[in-house]
Symmetry: D2
Subunit: 327 residues, 4 copies
């Protein structure tokens, strides 16, 4: 392994707004550093299928504001097999690609770590997922945009919440992590927030909702992460509450993939731009098997290994905040 | 019944963006025409409970852009009874209110027609509902805003639709009417649109979806009105399709009350403003038991009776359009 | 001139949101009608430069929601000359293009009319301009989006308008026509609206503004069309008012090209889709030298000649509305 | 000075989105901590005029998402005089207010520091300004929202930028600080960014613009902070460039007060909520003459004195980023 001369960039896993801004930064920083750069379509799947194309500064014009990813994303069963990874490496070799930037979440980095070890190819990861559940970075690309998408949706629901005894249950993404639910709940003034990390205490929820209605609150909004453990998501939580309080008028909204799309926010674009440039600089500086992070506003490097084996925790001061603000 | 001197204005039924713009126009046009004007809170319910307050030009400052309704809306069981309506009339009489403007949908106008007959009080209706299902007007207040809300949501989902064989089912409002689903489906480029007026032909839907996937479409979006008859909404349609095609990756979004909120569009604000002014002018011109309509860009009057007993039909040329545009 | 077999489509003049939705509809309707279809880049300029490319259903995937125009637009000095038009025609002939759909404003249709006469080629126009100043159609593509852009901008300014005696002058597009200023002014609750069609009466404006400040209005917003005649736009109007009232705090916003961009509204997309399909149907039906219009919700045809020689007028009932609503 | 029992809260200086979220948090945290709380209207001006009203949890319902400030803001000449401050203090005393939370920028804190010294009243400041120019905090409330407002405006302009040799100059706020221009410029992919901190090098700008046009860039966007020193803002920069390159088509947009309005982003709402709660906790903990900051994601306290006498600097790594990304 010598100096990197030609970089491949790919996006993998669930889409996250800002991935395009990261791709743009990777491509332009590569060119700025006199490296060649190719885009690999559909993540590891495309690497196996040899779907690569040279990228120029112009290839990434006018994409900074676009949701989704111009490189497309895909899951790849093949890359979980030694044969698949062998084929992938042969394709890289054929194309002269001797360094990779992979943009995605923990699945993406797990694959990257194994591949890097097997074939001694330097790989740098950029965290792109709306869940913000990656250890080693304060923010992942897409999280801020998804937060704003949820908040704008809840704002609209609140506009309509003039009827008495109405309860809205809004399901947001997050199978294992409640970051999105917690922070969007605070930002939208939700009355209660149910996350995977904390088992729902229905007794407490009932007390709380009753108190709200006795205070003549016109309505209450409950944010439910899809990974809520006790009932298993908003529809089931709503059914349970409805059974307990037949007079309440309960309504369910499931935001679904809306949260993965949309034009990225300023914050996600700047973060993606900084991370993209830093990923190339890390390759130039002979780094490998690391994820770029943003910690305390500064760019950091963290080994894939650390990022994967540690678990990021909810900020307890934010959890506490909700009980103060929803009085 | 002589000349109207003091007008009561209320909003009733489901919230619709633009109701505030209509209230503002009613209040200011009343003042412009030297009438007194009071706001009645929570619709007919508040009329029975005597929740009225005098309105000035300033009471309606800075509300034209707000979703929801400052007068709040509510359902009223009481107003369905002769006793409730008697109480309501006594409250109006006590306050000197001798004319009403009611903003809402067909439930609102049904109540208004009976009340007007029983107590000989002139009432003018303004169509406010996101469903656009009222006969006698091309557009109801809130419809254009809801359309844009749905379209923006579908745009975000499309951003993320890069994976192969993915099927999105998005449920939009419309228990009995498919206007919202049809028009937002065209505007968002949906691959298929399921409405209450047309029984879903699953065979045809399957053929269509298969064709799309064979063409290597990266994903397909199906808009489902909540009143879809055969399966009963998006979740059940998705389950049925999933059973037929276990390999497809199906996802469901339920927009719910998001569609009733949000800042009204320019179109809804202008329509609401025109209708509000016209409602007052109609009262000044001794009209009663009519709904204000917007037909071919001009303000019209239609008797409540006609508005209620006729059913608005989907525009067949729009139905046809979808088959041309989704090829 | 026989039956059309291959259609060329272009966009010309100033960008308008929704042009892409129209291009998509033209392409897909052509294919639906078994016609071949090519996209001509950069309007008439590209026709002279022979910049054409075949279009398929897939070429127009995922563009319905995009602002701008994938075909790009340009002004063409060459097309004003017989030589330029000769070259353009030769290029069309070479490519086998025997019918055109041109999307733009009056400059676009003027060129189309002359070209159609000279070379006996059928041309159908689609009105695309944010100014809505074309005779023969109630709405032009882009107008509704631009309206909402202006209204959202004014909403934000109103949020901040808590200081006393503050006057905001906001310049919107419209060199010769005040449609955008008038309708967005009504929708945003502007205190005064200055349009090219009506000479600004500064005396009346002063009286009005004084009245507002005496009523303790926290601020006033004046929409100024860039074609305002007496002072020549918002900066000069503001200077004049400032000189008269040195104590007022006057601020100017110039929206500029923001108004030409953005994702098109539902209304503009549906209108564009209908017009695009209708343009192809008109060509199939042997029509030429006509503009597609939307009049009273129905598609109409109007000769270029009529569209060009008549002038659309401001709706007097909307002009009157502002004086009622700003009391 | 003993334990605080009754808190007054006010907003002062230019509006910033998120101020309402901060007011809500201050009020609810005060109630949570068993303190009484009053809202002071129109900043220091209202303190002198005795415009105070008791606040309850309900007073701040449904304001978290609203732009502007429900307490209104105003400049106060009176508070610069000893007599004015004496009157203000007497009013506070009369009402029993023995602690203050002031939300605003450096002008606000300068007044607070003097007032606190003169009358020994504990005051805690919350940084609320779109300029983000306060030393001692990474982010001020309103900055993130303003960034997104600018970015969305530039996105729309870019949509329309298909013509060749077109140059857009967009003026954003920032009389003395370029934070808003720099970060929004990176996020919107602007070709050049002119800030007050760095003298504009027109030679370099010309070289850069020429290079862009030679590369057949369809257009270029230059962000200009209003405090740009050499020419004095976007209109003058545009005139200068136009004179040098008469063939370029230059256009100017002045965003103005649009940047101060709009519904706050998730980030601004969460920051405002945290700061509001922390401000009350600081008062309860006997703190005075401090500004609440957010540094490295944690709440900090900084003496007014330090916040006022130090100057925050542009992040040099962001300045450098633009030269890499605009190649």
């Amino acid at each position: 392994m010598g100096q990197v001369t030609k970089v491949g960039v790919l996006t993998s896993g669930g889409d996250a707004p800002g991935m395009n801004a990261a791709v743009r930064a990777v491509v332009r920083a590569a060119i700025f550093n006199k490296l060649k750069v190719v885009g690999i379509k559909q993540g590891y799947h495309g690497m196996i299928q040899d779907r690569m194309e040279p990228m120029t500064s112009k290839s990434v014009s006018n994409i900074i504001h676009q949701g989704g990813t111009i490189l497309k994303s895909a899951r790849s069963e093949g890359f979980r097999t030694p044969e698949g990874r062998k084929k992938a490496f042969e394709n890289l070799k054929k194309s002269g690609v001797d360094g990779l930037v992979v943009i995605g979440g923990d699945g993406t980095f797990t694959g990257a770590r194994i591949f890097s070890q097997e074939y001694n190819i330097p790989i740098v990861g950029i965290p792109g997922t709306i869940d913000n559940d990656l250890f080693g970075t304060d923010y992942t690309i897409g999280y801020d945009t998804a937060l704003n998408t949820v908040v704008q949706a809840v704002d609209k629901i609140r506009d309509t919440a003039s009827a008495h005894s109405r309860l809205f249950f809004i399901e947001v993404m997050g199978r294992d992590a409640g970051f999105l639910a917690l922070r969007s709940g605070i930002a939208s003034g939700a009355e209660a927030i149910l996350v995977p990390e904390i088992d729902t205490d229905f007794k407490q929820l009932y007390t709380f909702l009753e108190k709200g209605f006795n205070k003549d609150k016109s309505s209450s909004i409950v944010l439910v992460a899809e990974g809520e453990k006790i009932s298993g998501g908003a529809i089931h939580v709503a059914e349970r509450v409805q059974k307990e309080y037949p007079d309440y008028d309960t309504r369910v909204t499931i935001l679904g993939h809306i949260q993965r799309g949309g034009s990225p926010t300023a914050f996600d674009r700047v973060t993606a731009s900084r991370m993209g440039v830093s990923a190339i600089e890390a390759l130039v500086d002979d780094q490998k098997s690391i994820m770029i992070g943003l910690v305390n506003k500064e760019i950091t490097h963290i080994p894939f290994n650390q990022a994967l084996k540690n678990k990021k925790k909810l900020n307890p001061s934010l959890v506490e905040l909700t009980s103060i603000l929803s009085i």
